[in-house]
Symmetry: C2
Subunit: 424 residues, 2 copies
């Protein structure tokens, strides 16, 4: 069985690499045509796709998945239409492939340029939501990449139907169907195998929780883009405008608590804690937020009769994804920076202050993908940043950091043109 998996994955990899060479030849309008064909094919096969999804839903219910999980994997007509509609947005994005990043005539006689090219083959491992199958396939093809998809077992039927619709559209354009391949077995050892397919796969993007990210970091021999885990902080400085800060904190916490850029811990300078925290407790409790507070913040809560849990190292290290907020009183800005360095996942942090020096110091010393001054952490998003699309949010520092747009699916190639020029 394990040997069979090896053979299966090697074939998948080889086919993907071969397909990627065809994609590398396409110009922008050919890729637009391909994406249009995919939208048409998905529309034509809507009924099949929705029927396949219904099987996943039935199986999920039989397996006792909760309502929230079932809602995540549901693909009805309205949702499928929205997924297909999103393809139009990607069609209209500028294709980064082919751009010359620089070009110069070197003293040695060589005309040297650096040209943006597709990465080649991208492996994407994701959980639950079947829309990712379409999103990622479309973004990969838009940038001339082949893709190997590995979705969650709960959506296997949906993903099969979606990927078949995509593959038939690819074939209709005279391209190899293997530009998009889906791993068709739920066997977990296939994930480990995919992570070691370094002969064929150029980049792995895991879209899922901490366990998946860790698995990829530990097992992959292919470069992995880690991300999507946000333990996010806002620090209210002693020179913060308290009322306005509360609005930003509330926005960061409650606007959409289940996503990675939602606020997890608020740090408050001790000089303003006595004034700010009572207002914060009142405002956020009214919005349904519950709290894990440090000793000093807990003492203030007690005086008000607000119930809080006691914050610990573990709770500070938690990505809440819910209406829960950590609160800590810090001595000064260095205390805030030090806390962030200890507990942040490197996603999004912000300072709330009217002081230009505190702002500059915070920007310089906080080492996260996105650092804000007087703004909500909720802005860390490909759409908000004007990238047009979002492949993932990277919390590592190589290749791409923060929201990843189309450029993150490309690399560059140095091209040197001479006149039969030797190196002297």
């Amino acid at each position: 069985m394990i040997e069979n998996n090896q053979v299966y994955l090697q074939a998948l990899g080889k086919q993907a690499k071969q397909a990627s060479y065809s994609l590398a030849c396409l110009n922008g309008s050919q890729k637009q045509g391909l994406l249009k064909a995919i939208a048409v094919s998905l529309t034509e096969q809507s009924e099949l796709i929705i029927a396949a999804n219904a099987k996943d839903v039935i199986a999920a219910k039989a397996n006792g998945l909760n309502d929230a999980m079932i809602d995540r994997l549901l693909l009805d007509e309205v949702r499928l239409k929205a997924v297909i509609g999103d393809i139009d947005n990607v069609i209209n994005l500028t294709d980064p492939v082919g751009t010359e990043l620089e070009s110069q005539l070197l003293d040695n006689g060589l005309r040297l340029s650096r040209r943006r090219v597709p990465l080649g083959v991208i492996g994407v491992i994701y959980e639950a939501r079947p829309n990712v199958t379409v999103d990622i396939a479309v973004l990969a093809l838009k940038t001339g990449n082949a893709v190997i998809l590995r979705g969650g077992k709960e959506t296997l039927q949906s993903n099969l139907a979606l990927s078949e619709a995509i593959r038939s559209a690819i074939t209709s354009q005279g391209l190899p169907a293997d530009c998009v391949q889906l791993i068709q077995s739920p066997d977990r050892s296939l994930v480990s195998g995919l992570l070691k397919l370094d002969n064929y796969v150029d980049m792995i993007v895991p879209r899922g929780g901490p366990n998946l990210q860790r698995l990829c970091a530990e097992q992959a021999t292919i470069p992995v883009i880690l991300g999507g885990i946000g333990i996010c902080h806002l620090y209210a400085d002693k020179d913060a405008n308290i009322e306005k800060s509360l609005d930003v904190i509330a926005n960061a916490k409650v606007q959409r608590p289940t996503v990675c850029n939602a606020l997890d811990t608020t740090l408050v300078h001790q000089d303003i804690a006595e004034v700010m925290l009572p207002k914060l407790y009142q405002k956020l409790a009214a919005l349904g937020v519950s709290f894990y507070a440090c000793d000093r913040a807990e003492a203030i809560a007690k005086k008000l009769g607000v119930t809080v849990e006691t914050a610990t190292e573990d709770t500070y290290a938690q990505e809440w994804l819910s209406l829960t907020l950590g609160i800590k009183v810090v001595d000064d800005i260095e205390g805030a920076i030090s806390h962030i360095r200890t507990y942040s996942s490197g996603h999004s942090e912000g300072i709330l202050t009217d002081n230009i020096h505190a702002s500059a110091h915070f920007i310089n010393q906080v080492d996260s993908a996105a650092v804000y001054v007087n703004a909500s952490t909720r802005f860390t998003d490909g759409g908000q940043f004007g990238l047009g699309a979002e492949v993932a949010v990277s919390t590592q520092k190589l290749h791409a950091r923060g929201p990843m747009g189309l450029e993150a699916l490309t690399t560059y190639k140095w091209i040197g043109v001479g006149e039969y020029t030797p190196r002297s």
Copy 2:
């Protein structure tokens, strides 16, 4: 012992990360001052360094290392002066840190910019040559990074003396000595441990042979920049100018055969093989080159009375690093591209042709860091490309590809500045 190693490495990592925060605050002229102090310190401690190197040389001789190996690790007064002289070049390079790559006012009210910042902590694993200790430390500091160095055991005494000279210079500038740390034990398990120090180390650069590269790809949980292995090809197309092509091939093979951008295999279109190969054998044999040839190329050699070895899959997959050349006759350009896809390490390949269509097709379809038209593969080099310095030559596609200059030691940070702005 293994537990002790863990504690030792954790301390090293923590110190490096802490030191990196101080480096992130420096402006360009402060970093120039730091590098000047290092040059002065190395000059002052020249005698100690040369004496330490002598110990390494004596030990190497006692351990039976060959003359070439001993020459590689030798650091005499002349060589040390050259290493120190190179620091001046780095001092004069433009510091990429702090540049704003883009800055825009978003519709949501946020002023968003992307600022180039140091990576943080870089781990470098290298073999033999002690000059790497100085080169890498200086490049890392120039870009505001802390570095953890792991040199070869053959040069441990030299590296200790060099790193102590560097550390005392760092201290003299009021900075933490741990900006540069050397792993002081030859214990190999420390390499594996370093590769998993993902809490503290942001990037690993292995500078060594295929075994080291493979070890890093397999064991690291930190992003690794693979590179430095060049199985390089030149393809003489049917429309090549034969005489001029021979000059380029000779240059690529013999100018400096021991480096990664030297030519390994020449591919020759069948239409010109009968004319070109006899000249090629004659010209290169006279330069001391020996050959591994395919059947067709071997038949031509036999007619001339030239002795060649028979090429195999293994010899095509070999990085020669010597005056050896693989030769293969291919049916057409597709045959050449297919051979390159099978055997190339993704470093440097070139086409020799007068045909503009063949040139464009080759550039598009060959997926290597550097692709040449009518030029020697020997150009793939940070100095030749005008990068000023070379950290390594990357053969992977993420973050940096081909010769890596100072920018490859940086990342970027998104900075969003609002007016207490929530996301709507």
